[in-house]
Amino acid sequence: MGGIPIAIAAVIAAAAWLLLREADRARNGAVLAGSIYRDLLVATAERDRYVIAPPADRRDTAQRFASQTLRARDDLAALAGVARTPEQAEAVALASQTLEQYTAQMRRLTASTERNDRLVREMAERATVLTGLAEQARMRQHASNADIVTSLTEKDRRLRLIRDIVDKAQELRALVAAARLQAARLAEDGRGGAAANDRERGQAFARSQLRNAVLDLMRALEAAGRKDDAVTLGEHLAGLDAGGAAAETALVEWCERMLKVDDTEQRALHEELAQLLTYSVQANETEQATQNIAIAVLKLGQRTSEALGKRDIEAVIAIVRESDKLASTMASLPISPLIQTEMIDAIGEWRDRLFTTVSGLREQNATLWDMDRSAVELTEGARSLNDMFTGAADRLGATIRTILFVGGSFGLLFGALAGFVVARQITRPLRRVQQSMIRLAEDPASGGVSDSDRKDELGDMARAANFFVHEIVAREGALRDAVDRADAALEELRRTQATLIQAEKMASLGQLVAGVAHEINTPVGVALTTATLVGEEARQFAEEAKGQQLLRSRLIAFTERMSEGARLLTVNLTRAADLVHSFKQVSADQVSGERRAFDLRTWLNELLTSLGPVLRRRSLTVDVDCRPGLTVETYPGALGQVLTNLIVNAAVHGYDDGCGGHVRIAVREPGPGRVAIEVADDGKGIPPERIERIFDPFFTTARHRGNTGLGLHIVYNLVVQTLRGQIEVSSEPGRGTTFRIDIPGTSLAVAPAEAEVEAV
């Protein structure tokens, strides 16, 4: 009989072991989920960096993004393997789907960005072509200017020579005319009989003047390289020397013809000079215009890359409009025809590309927006996965605990029954003997061992009595042996119970570890990510600082990011430290089961921290109303379990799924050395017909959800037996339920108050 409880314990242990393995698995899932969460945070940050990175650095960022998301995908695949429930599998599938969507969006973004980057690059190339063309035009113009100067000099020289010839020819013609006039006048004067000497002298003077003029013109013609004309003129001079009016007439005609030719040439040269000068002025204007255009294009290019960098669609559209204007300016300016079409084309293509980049930017911005939404979904998904797997671990822990309790109770019950049966088997014959002995002792006069010699039944009985009387001494030893055996069995039961209690405590601890591990995981994970990002940011910033590319705005952004990082690190690490502290305390209490004095308010807060995941999952908020500095001395482990059970009970039974609720823990001091703790929820309440039974073991309304119905029973037992207090429940359907625990808080809590009173 004594082996059965042991077997039960073994079965329970095996079940617990199996379940612990499952819980372990769930915790692994939680760890994976946490790692996915981190990877996704990093991927999101890489995406942000990709967007702001210079085109040359985008590839690296995109690769980092790809490797992060790939890791997250692998982890999600692994997580799918760990998933036990359809709910989990569904959540994992959903997260995978969202991740696929996210990476697809990133691919779209990358494609669009690359397209835009290429366009920007082509635009830059266009700008260079334009400036190159402008430079070529300028060089050509310089060469041309030098050429114009040569032409002008040459033409000017010719002009001077011709002017000289024209002047001299005109002078000669005038002299011939004068000479003929004088000759005519002299002929008339001669008839009047004037002085012949004067006439002679005058004619000689005129001839020599004419001769000199002819010689001057000959020299001028020779200087101009017109030897033929000079020779002709020499012939005319010879004729003139020979004398005769015919020679003079011939000279005049020759002069006039030459004058006609040279005069018109002179004017033509004038015209050419004027045109060349006009051209050189125009050419200069052209050069200026071309340079201005090139500069305008360069400026536009710079503004464009800035606007594109800032993803400022409005600014880009404004630039598109400006480039339209620039193109029409180009068409109207006197730009070198050699490059004008190309420039107009270049600006046109530039404009078209810019226009395309606007739609590219729009598309990118839309993708970015989608990605941000996906990112929120993703991280939320990862977080809820984390919660889900942690919750699963929690639930498994709870199940283990329940099984241990149920199993333990069955074991105890069965053990007690077995003990009773054993005891009865031993005591029944003993009682008969005892009755006989009593009877015998009551009636010794009946012959004592009367009828012992009778042959009838009585004789038999007497004989039997006598036999017993005789035997009684002999039997006493055997009796003592049996009692000893029963004692041993009971002792064994007690030992089993202790083992069971210890096992239950360990299960509870497991739950605690899982809870705390999860709680710590989140802040440490966030802190780790933040630290990585801060480090990366700092490295990048250092590089920029080295590269002297720092802008004030960048510096401000950096310090803001650093402060934000520091704040995140502080908040999360403080939280992790708090958690570790709480855990230390709570676990110590649960394991030791010792009675100690503690600050109730602080302790309550620590307890609630360890319950965080459960509360969050159920959207339950808990607030504590306890005066600061209230110290109690009691069993914190037991009290912790009581409060935990009450809160979990409220969370599980008090509300419909997902509607959330509020629990208020109020601590009162009803009398010296006593503490009353009220746990009040604002949930559905308990119907009156059920309220009588809620502390009964195995009473539950939620067995279909895996509840055992032992939670409040355990609470009752712990309050009454361990804490030596009372528990009351009041409830109003629709208004909520209030449990009131009244426990002794020892004199320690009272003593200072009394001292205070005394001090007054």
Binding site: E125, Q141, I148, P337, E342
Partner: protein, 539 residues
């Protein structure tokens, strides 16, 4: 301060990054642009409505004809018509059109079909029929079409099917095929015309031309440029150059300066004085050819004083043509005595030129009743022409020559396209002008420039000379199929011309063109055309 510096540094870094990017990426291929330094503004861009070679040359890159002259010759060859047949009586021409010939497109027009018979019919009908919706747009008249007597010559133009056109003449016409090869017989898009009617802009047919030619019209800025782009779908294959620009540069000295500087690749008509320098320049190529041209002084015979043949003869005798040719043409021209160049068949060399004789001229003036002369206006071209390198200088020399007759000349000029209009309107009393043959047929000179048909406002008969005997001769000659018979009539006509002296023929010139050394495939053309198809730049 720090911010400003950081900003500057960032900019510098940005520019540097840009530069690096540019070095890394291969720059887009630079477009091949051929710039032609042309001599003047085209009066229009549609060859149907122009009469100057400047206008024709500006229109030429965009269009094709049914038949065209082979480059550099006057040989007719197939173009938009792949083949043709002529009826034995010489009045019915059937043209078989090339398939798959595409038209250009522009901002308002995208062709939906290839060239077909409708386009050919439209292009001729538009010029022919006065009630055609495109006949009376934007105030243009189709002078060439009329000067050649096309309205009377044509009997019908029919579309036989999409790719066959039948043209019936009222009489046999020897130069008909050559006339079809002339610029005014380009083929326009009927579909484009339809489109323009729908949008209410029929004027665009002439200002925004759509053709089938190797280059697409890009823009015309008066006094500055005409721009074209290579037509990717040209039936004759895409051109090697991407962009063609006519850079309008009236002064030959400036043209030469631009050519030497590389601002243009081809220049029209260099100053004869500069020819030796061009020939010496290692970077330049000089092209020359005896031109099929004549430069002349036209005397307006429609009103006094030049309605009197004695006055015209006096002027002819007083002008020292030898001095002009020597000074202005500088050896690149010969003195003209007939209205057609000596290289053209039927040139009457038996005619002896009017002798330069001032005294005789003075006597003739006195006989005509102008012993003390008169005042008159002499118009000269503002631009150099192949037949006249410097109109102004010639005008000044004529002014000087006529002064002894008491003829006081007032020199006038206008911007080139306006000049032509004024001349064709009969405004000047005396005008310098000239002609480059379009088709290598004497009719193209003797009839177009001196026939009665052309002696009207808008016509090419600047002298407004209409001599019935002469006109009968050239019109008869046109209808005769065999050359010797025609030649006889033309020689007779030249005698009448010599006697009646409506012009003073001045010179036949050698045409010069200059290109940069890298220009390949540019051919100087006896008809004064500047064909840019097949031209490339290798530098």
């Amino acid at each position: 301060m720090i911010d400003a510096m950081a900003g500057a540094r960032r900019r510098v870094a940005g520019v540097a990054a840009l530069a690096v990017m540019l070095l890394a990426a291969s720059a887009p291929a630079v477009a091949k642009t051929l710039v032609f330094c042309s001599e003047g503004n085209p009066e229009a861009l549609n060859p149907q409505i122009v009469t100057t070679t400047t206008g024709m040359n500006a229109g030429r890159p965009m269009f094709n004809n049914l038949v065209e002259f082979a480059k550099g010759t006057t040989t007719v060859e197939p173009a938009l018509a792949e083949s043709w047949t002529v009826s034995p009586d010489g009045v019915e021409y059937v043209f078989h059109l090339r398939a798959g010939v595409k038209f250009h497109s522009n901002a308002v027009f995208q062709p939906t079909r290839t060239m077909n018979a409708d386009d050919v019919v439209f292009s001729l009908m538009r010029q022919w029929k006065e009630d055609h919706p495109f006949h009376n747009i934007s105030g243009y008249s189709f002078d060439f079409f009329r000067d050649l007597g096309m309205p009377e010559l044509l009997k019908s133009i029919e579309k036989v099917d999409d790719r066959t056109v039948r043209i019936t003449l009222t009489r046999p016409e020897a130069p008909f095929l050559a006339n079809l090869a002339m610029p005014f017989n380009v083929v326009l898009s009927a579909e484009y015309a339809e489109r323009l009617l729908t949008i209410g802009r029929p004027d665009m047919l002439d200002t925004q031309p759509i053709g089938t030619g190797p280059f697409v019209f890009q823009g015309f800025q008066k006094d500055v440029t005409v721009r074209y782009r290579a037509f990717d779908d040209y039936w004759g294959g895409r051109q090697a150059i991407d962009t063609l620009v006519f850079s309008i540069t009236p002064n030959p000295a400036v043209r030469l300066t631009k050519l030497k500087a590389g601002e243009c690749h081809v220049m029209a008509f260099p100053n004869p004085a500069d020819v030796p320098k061009i020939a010496e320049d290692p970077n330049l190529t000089l092209l020359s050819q005896e031109g099929l041209n004549v430069g002349y002084l036209a005397m307006n015979t429609s009103r006094p004083p030049f309605d009197d043949v004695r006055v015209r003869r006096a002027v002819s005798m007083a002008i020292d043509k030898a001095a002009i040719v020597a000074a202005v043409y500088q050896g690149a021209g010969t003195v003209a005595k007939n209205p057609i160049p000596p290289t053209l068949w039927s040139y009457n060399d038996a005619i002896s030129d009017v002798r330069f004789d001032r005294a005789q001229a003075q006597r003739a003036m006195a006989e005509a009743g102008y012993p003390s002369g008169f005042d008159a206006d002499l118009w000269y071209m503002p631009v150099s022409r192949p037949y006249n390198p410097n109109g102004k200088r010639i005008a000044e020399m004529i002014q000087s020559d006529l002064a002894p007759l008491g003829i006081r000349l007032r020199l006038e000029t206008r911007e080139w396209s306006e000049y032509r209009r004024e001349l064709q309107a009969g405004t000047p009393a005396l005008a310098l002008y000239g002609w480059t043959g379009d088709n290598g047929d004497p009719d193209n000179f003797l009839n177009v420039l001196l026939g009665c048909t052309s002696a009207r406002t808008g016509g090419n008969n600047i002298a407004r000379w209409c001599d019935p005997t002469y006109d009968d001769l050239v019109n008869r000659a046109k209808r005769l199929p065999d050359r010797p018979a025609r030649e006889a009539l033309y020689r007779q006509a030249q005698e009448i011309f010599h006697d009646q002296a409506p012009w003073v023929p001045l010179a036949h010139s050698v045409v010069f063109m200059a290109t940069r050394k890298g220009v390949k495939g540019f051919v100087i053309d006896p008809l004064g055309r500047h064909p840019f198809d097949g031209v490339d730049i290798v530098e």
